[in-house]
């Protein structure tokens, strides 16, 4: 461990390519997620500049569509998802008292698949053929879209989707199998609970999407006729497949955020979570109902009044468990001793913002009224309230909360509070007015609006707001850099935390827990602290720790599929064989790595008792 700090920069970087440690992979997810968040934000700004004034020609219709498609795809699949996976990867094993996830190798594989998917998507800019069919890529439009743009979208999402499913399985098994002694299901911290449900949702939701993507991919690359209406094809089936995935995806992203805020509210009001049992129940119920409501994205497709009414009511039903959560949070705060730290500000900002996003959700669930809301700017406002006011606030608050645990130093509080305030003001200025733009009749995904239609003023306000919003994000990134330079050392338990991760050093050693902790209660660490113990006790003696060994194979497997994807896509460029050769080379790398993985026996290694006791002289 001591040695690790002295190694060269090159070696440190190299280590991240071969690591199977859940903490390092967590950081990889977080930083690549932040990178894509910046990309997506730049794209958003381009759109807001275009829409600031009527009949603007800053972006052409085609370019706007490309920017819009990339913004949506990036933010959902390559910013929100990895940022949440980063938190889950880093924190969940620590919260359940585990030394790593169940399948460290698959964990690394999942990350590299995601990252190569993202790189693949963005390489479309280099080829000048950018996806332009929206992040939904509805079949009738996606099939006829010219060039290879939509192929980039399809293959990138296949790659990253494979990674996501792997991670989903991994977390599910981890939480089932790797819990410390005494950590029963009803003692799991809420962030772990929500990650658990999210993983289950991933496993059920992503396959539907994968099928939709494959149908599209075959239609585009190999001339399959699934969507050719003239010979009996059906494009509405793609919409179903997409939304059977697409709606649970919203919960896949937002449930872990509910978990993050549950931890934050509980910690910073010094109270246990109010109604823990009903909170868990509500999460399960939301996850379950999340699969029953997809057609509310399709009220105007013409599924008939029966389907519309049923899906309307099912959708409204989700408001009940969500309401339970909101009130439980409020009652957690009630009677507490609220510390206004930066993570808590995100939490307090989340409640009113998310409530607005939630109630507009119920409004759009009202099918007959949704005929007016659907595909208008009202919907744009609605889901940005949920995604920015919920998910982004949660990720940023969670990062600030767990940053000292991850890096061993604090983020600057003053800067944190200022940046939150700017972000909050910018966010509401940008998106609140968009509700009304929609109600006044402006459809979404419009690259411009006409001069004599009165959408100009509110769009202008929204654009100003987006600048403030971006300023907030810039301040937050600046805080990350500034605090890294200043390095104000963090203690193990800087926030007076309640869960297991705060009982170990900051940053945690590679094996997390020297001895596996004994859990005696919900909020295990808080329980011990209240009893006057400063550390968790353990049922076991100090013994050798078995660790998985690093491997470069996940990187190469993903790399192989990444290279093969280019080959697959350009197969249509008939006469030259380069595409075919690329496909073969990629295949060899990918399947060769798999063969190596199957044949090389890897039993991992041990950190001996002696090393453990030497390292930490008492």
């Amino acid at each position: 461990m001591q040695l690790a700090r002295k190694q060269s920069l090159f070696k440190t970087i190299l280590e991240y390519f071969v690591t199977v440690d859940h903490k390092k992979i967590g950081l990889l997810y977080l930083f690549s997620g932040l990178f894509f968040l910046v990309c997506g934000t730049v794209l958003a700004l381009l759109m807001r500049i275009q829409l600031a004034v009527p009949e603007n020609d800053f972006l052409s219709g085609q370019t706007y569509n490309e920017v819009m498609t990339m913004h949506g795809t990036t933010m959902i699949f390559f910013a929100a998802t990895p940022l949440i996976f980063g938190l889950m990867n880093y924190i969940v094993p620590l919260q359940i008292g585990a030394r790593d996830v169940a399948f460290p190798f698959i964990n690394a594989l999942g990350f590299w698949f995601f990252l190569f998917g993202g790189i693949f998507l963005y390489s479309s800019f280099l080829f000048g053929e950018v996806p332009d069919a929206g992040w939904t890529a509805y079949a009738s439009l996606a099939v006829v879209s010219k060039g290879h743009g939509v192929d980039f979208y399809l293959l990138a999402l296949q790659l990253s989707g494979a990674g996501t499913i792997m991670s989903g399985i991994n977390f599910l098994v981890t939480i089932v199998n790797m819990r410390a002694p005494g950590m029963s299901y009803m003692r799991l911290p809420l962030f772990t609970w929500t990650s658990f449900i999210t993983s289950a949702l991933i496993i059920f939701a992503f396959p539907a999407f994968t099928i939709g993507l494959i149908l599209l991919l075959f239609s585009r690359l190999f001339g399959a006729q699934y969507f050719n209406v003239a010979i009996g094809g059906n494009t509405v089936i793609y919409e179903h497949l997409f939304w059977i995935f697409g709606h649970p995806e919203v919960y896949i992203l937002v449930l872990p955020i509910f978990g993050v805020f549950s931890e934050i509210f509980s910690t910073f009001s010094k109270k246990r979570l109010f109604g823990y049992n009903s909170m868990v129940f509500a999460v399960i119920l939301i996850g379950f109902l999340g699969f029953m409501v997809w057609a509310h994205h399709m009220f105007t497709v013409g599924l008939g009044p029966f389907a519309n009414a049923i899906f309307a009511i099912a959708t409204m039903a989700i408001a009940v468990p969500t309401g339970i959560k909101i009130f439980n949070w409020l009652l957690t705060l009630w009677g507490g001793s609220i510390r206004l730290t930066t993570p808590m500000l995100y939490g307090l900002g989340f409640i009113p913002s998310f409530i607005i996003g939630g109630v507009t959700g119920v409004m759009t669930a009202s099918a007959a009224a949704d005929y007016q809301f659907h595909d208008s700017y009202f919907v744009v406002a609605h889901f940005h309230y949920v995604i920015v006011g919920g998910i982004v606030f949660g990720i940023l608050g969670g990062l600030h909360y767990w940053w000292p645990k991850m890096f061993g130093y604090m983020l600057n509080e003053t800067l944190g509070k200022i940046s939150f305030a700017v972000l909050f003001v910018g966010f509401h200025t940008t998106f609140f007015v968009l509700h009304f733009v929609g109600l006044m009749g402006m459809p979404r995904r419009y690259f411009t609006y006409l001069k004599d239609q009165d959408f100009g003023d509110l769009n202008y306000i929204s654009t100003i707001g987006s600048y403030i919003l971006v300023l907030g994000l810039v301040l937050i990134v600046f805080n990350y850099i500034y605090s890294t330079v200043i390095r104000e050392k963090a203690v193990n338990d800087p926030w007076n935390g309640r869960t297991l991760e705060w009982s170990i050093p900051s940053p945690p050693p590679m094996y997390n827990f020297k001895q596996v902790p004994q859990v005696n209660s919900l909020d295990a660490f808080w329980y011990e602290k209240m009893k006057g113990n400063s550390n968790m006790s353990s049922p076991d003696e100090l013994s050798d720790i078995h660790m998985p060994s690093n491997s470069s194979l996940p990187f190469f497997m993903a790399l192989g599929f990444f290279i093969a994807s280019y080959g697959l896509m350009f197969l249509d460029k008939g006469s030259n064989n380069i595409a075919f050769i690329t496909l073969v080379i990629g295949g060899i790398i990918a399947f060769g790595s798999m063969v190596l993985r199957s044949t090389i026996e890897d039993k991992g290694y041990y950190i001996t008792k002696k090393q453990l006791s030497e390292e930490d002289p008492k």
Partner: protein, 336 residues
Amino acid sequence: MKKIKYFIFTVFLFLVGCGNEARSTLNPQGEVGKLQLQLMKISTWIMVFVIVVVLVLFIIILLKFIEKKDNKDFIPEQVEGNRKLEIIWTIVPILLILILAIPTVYYTFKLAVTDTEVVNKSKYLVNVNARLFWWEFEYVNEEFITSQELVIPVGKKVYFQLKGHDVKHSFWIPSLGGKQDTNVERTNRMYLIADKPGVYNGYCAEFCGASHALMQFTVKALPLDEYEQWVKNMKTKEKVSTNLNGEEIFNSKCSGCHSTDPLDPRPLKARIAPNLGNFADRPLVTGILKNSNQNIKEWLNDPEKYKPGNKMTNTYGELTEEETNKLIEYLNSLTR
């Protein structure tokens, strides 16, 4: 916080009052839009109630429970939960949702057009054919066609049969009522009613490509007698060819796709461009530009500039200045 709320409230009132009657869902001009606004209002008021309850609790919490400087070591009571409260905030939302669900289901069925018999027998029936990036309106009973401008009678239930013929679009006239998609595989049906004469904006509301934002149309609601006169003119009135030279150019360059006859006998598949039968009467060129000689000229010179991705660009060769002027003259004579 309070100031913001006042501001929001004022803005809200302002907007509700001022929605433009040509295109705002907040200022509907027909029964369907009015019913939908009613439902929107019901849901808004229920939701405002929820927001107020949460915000009141929230503000009390912020006022009462922030940590005091002299009280840093205070450990609050670790409350597990409260069954009574939890039951209340499960039951009350269920009741609120029921209040919303009942009108939702009622209106959803009321607005749905399920009986094709009724549609087929209705006196006012328009087939809406959506294409990249223009609209064709086929008056089924009267058997004529127009494009880009939909004309309907005031106070009558007008049924629409919607279909997309390349990719999926969506047919939306915000101030008359909600939208329905024009699917490519199946016909959707809906109806709208305009309460008073006027001109309304129509939009494509399903993302369909480069000029999605420009796939607009106008809706003109006419009093019944004027409407009937209009129908009669569309069906019977001969086109006045004062401009033989322009007609010649039109026939050689344009008539392969465009028809100037509202009674165009070609089948749907062959009608690949807007019908120009009453072009001179329409307020807009290509659904977005004011109908003036200057705009027609610029459109003819470079359609790609005004509607990127359209199917007209590069299909008619170069037009000389003189040809263009002749053509415009001819187009201006297309009145009914």
